[in-house]
Amino acid sequence: MLLELNDVSVSYGRIEALHGISLTVNEGEVVALIGANGAGKTTTMRAISGTRALSGGRITFDGEDISKLRADLRVVRGLCQSPEGRQIFPGMTVLENLDMGAYTRRDHAGIAADLEKVLELFPRLRERRKQAGGTLSGGEQQMLAVGRALMSRPKLLLLDEPSMGLAPMIIQQIFDIIVEINQQGTTVLLVEQNAQQALSRAHRAYVLETGRIVKEGTGQDLLHDPSIKEAYLGVA
């Protein structure tokens, strides 16, 4: 078990956004987290990555209790999040942004190789490597955000809506990449609105509704669950 959330709750002011959720991610898995707007998916991710404090519960990563650990130290432990809404560094070039992904790494050869790989995956980024991140189009920024997360070579990669704002073709690519890096040994926790895609690629999935986990199962099971179909896949 790589990651375990145990009865985790998080509040924003007086509003509690997560009411004690528990989930696990095993080494080598792709786990999807789906749910409607405001269900608490992003909040879950932030709790895991440490940008939001817990109001209750416990998070264990790789056998260590990280509930109170600072966010940057979680990165050092091998936990990297690609945040929702891109959040690239607007004043840095594409290359510098990618370098930031490898901030905690020291293996120069490995970094160079990974950089090459990312640029391979997103030729658009190679084309724009000297352009300031802030002037990229929405979709380009999204690619950059995913590429940057890949650069940190995490044990567990947290992806928050990686397909948001991307053209259909690129969405396809992104999901292919997720599968690929997973096969190369990275565990992935994936938040997606595009439930169809997410479920079909994930080993397991959780469904979140207003701050509670309401369902869990294998990707395929959920994909064929009629209630899920109705609520999240938009197909009657």
């Binding site: 130290l73 990297c80 959040q87 004043g91 510098e96 930031m100 802030g134 002037t135 940190s152």
Partner: protein, 327 residues
């Protein structure tokens, strides 16, 4: 209006302006660093500089340095002065960060609140050095605190001598030292910020603190780092100041700080090279302006030039670089 004088000695005036501006530039670096990362005008930075000059004064007084010591001694006292000033200024900057800014950051207060706090701190520091310490210690160490409000002289550590004269322009040893040190220091800082991993961390925090944390950057450490770096630069400026001008006073920071901040804005606040360029430019503008008109128009000229520059380049000569571009 005296254009004849200006053009008659244009070279000399330029050299004078550059050496004047070099000091502005070094202080401006502190403003720019902090502003770049925290979007905060650290109004108290001028007092960080002031504390540096008092540290140098204290050191030299403690060792009983006299005017024009032998060169060997002079070098020792300069090096010691640099260390002491850097520690004092860096420490003050760090203390300011810890005592005043950190609680505010914890509360996520908007920039204006930081500004007012900084102004308050600045007042407090000036009064501590100008009033409280003199009352407490004025009897014991009159040469340091007795007249801190008016003026405190320091020994001349290196006598000013003309090194060489080209094209009717003489350059003195001190002008050269000041100018070269300023450029070297700024180059080192620039290298640090733009070329090292730490520097990249600083810029990342500047642009998107939360995501920087997600990349493994320790934000608190970065903030401490920039305050200390800015403080060290101010300390260096304090030493150069003490060497060149040989005096200080509790309110010395005010005007210099204002000018340095103007320089930072002129060059493009948040931009290290801009700080250097802005400082030198401002120095030259002031000397030219004071030559053409009288010296009492100096500030007017400086500010008018600032407005003109900003009208054509709203983010300063070089624009912003550390800071977040607009999304």
């Amino acid at each position: 209006m005296n254009f004849a004088d200006l053009f008659g000695h244009i070279g000399q005036h330029t050299v004078d302006g550059l050496s004047k501006g070099a000091i502005y530039a070094l202080i401006a670096l502190g403003y720019t660093l902090v502003y770049g990362v925290l979007r905060l005008i650290n109004f108290a930075h001028s007092e960080v500089f002031m504390v540096g000059t008092f540290a140098v004064l204290g050191l030299w007084t403690a060792f009983g340095v006299q005017n024009n010591p032998p060169i060997g001694q002079a070098i020792i006292f300069l090096v010691l002065g640099l260390i002491v000033a850097a520690i004092a200024s860096g420490g003050t900057a760090l203390a300011i960060e810890r005592i005043a800014y950190r609680p505010l950051r914890r509360k996520n207060a908007p920039p204006l609140i930081f500004l007012i706090t900084a102004i308050g701190l600045s007042l407090v520091l000036v009064e501590i050095f100008g009033l409280v310490l003199p009352k407490l210690l004025g009897e014991a160490v009159p040469s340091i605190f007795g007249r801190a409000r008016i003026i405190l002289g320091m020994p001349t550590i290196i006598e000013q001598k003309t090194l060489f004269t080209v094209l009717n322009t003489s350059i003195t040893n001190i002008q050269l030292i000041v100018f070269v040190s300023a450029v070297v220091m700024m180059a080192m800082l620039d290298w640090f910020i733009n070329r090292t991993r730490y520097g990249r961390g600083v810029r990342a925090v500047a642009q998107n603190p939360e995501t920087a944390a997600l990349m493994g950057v320790n934000q608190e450490r970065v903030i401490m780092l920039i305050f200390v770096l800015g403080g060290i630069m101010a300390g260096a400026a304090a030493l150069l100041w003490s060497m060149r001008f040989g005096f200080t006073q509790s309110s010395i920071g005010f005007v210099l700080g204002l000018k340095a901040f103007t320089a930072a804005v002129l060059g493009g606040i948040g931009n290290l090279r801009g700080a250097l360029l802005g400082g030198l430019f401002l120095g030259i503008v002031e000397v030219y302006g004071a030559t053409i008109f009288a010296s009492n128009w100096e500030d007017v000229i400086a500010f008018v030039v600032l407005v003109i520059v900003l009208m054509f380049r709203p983010t300063g000569i070089l624009g912003e670089s550390l800071g977040r571009a607009r999304a």
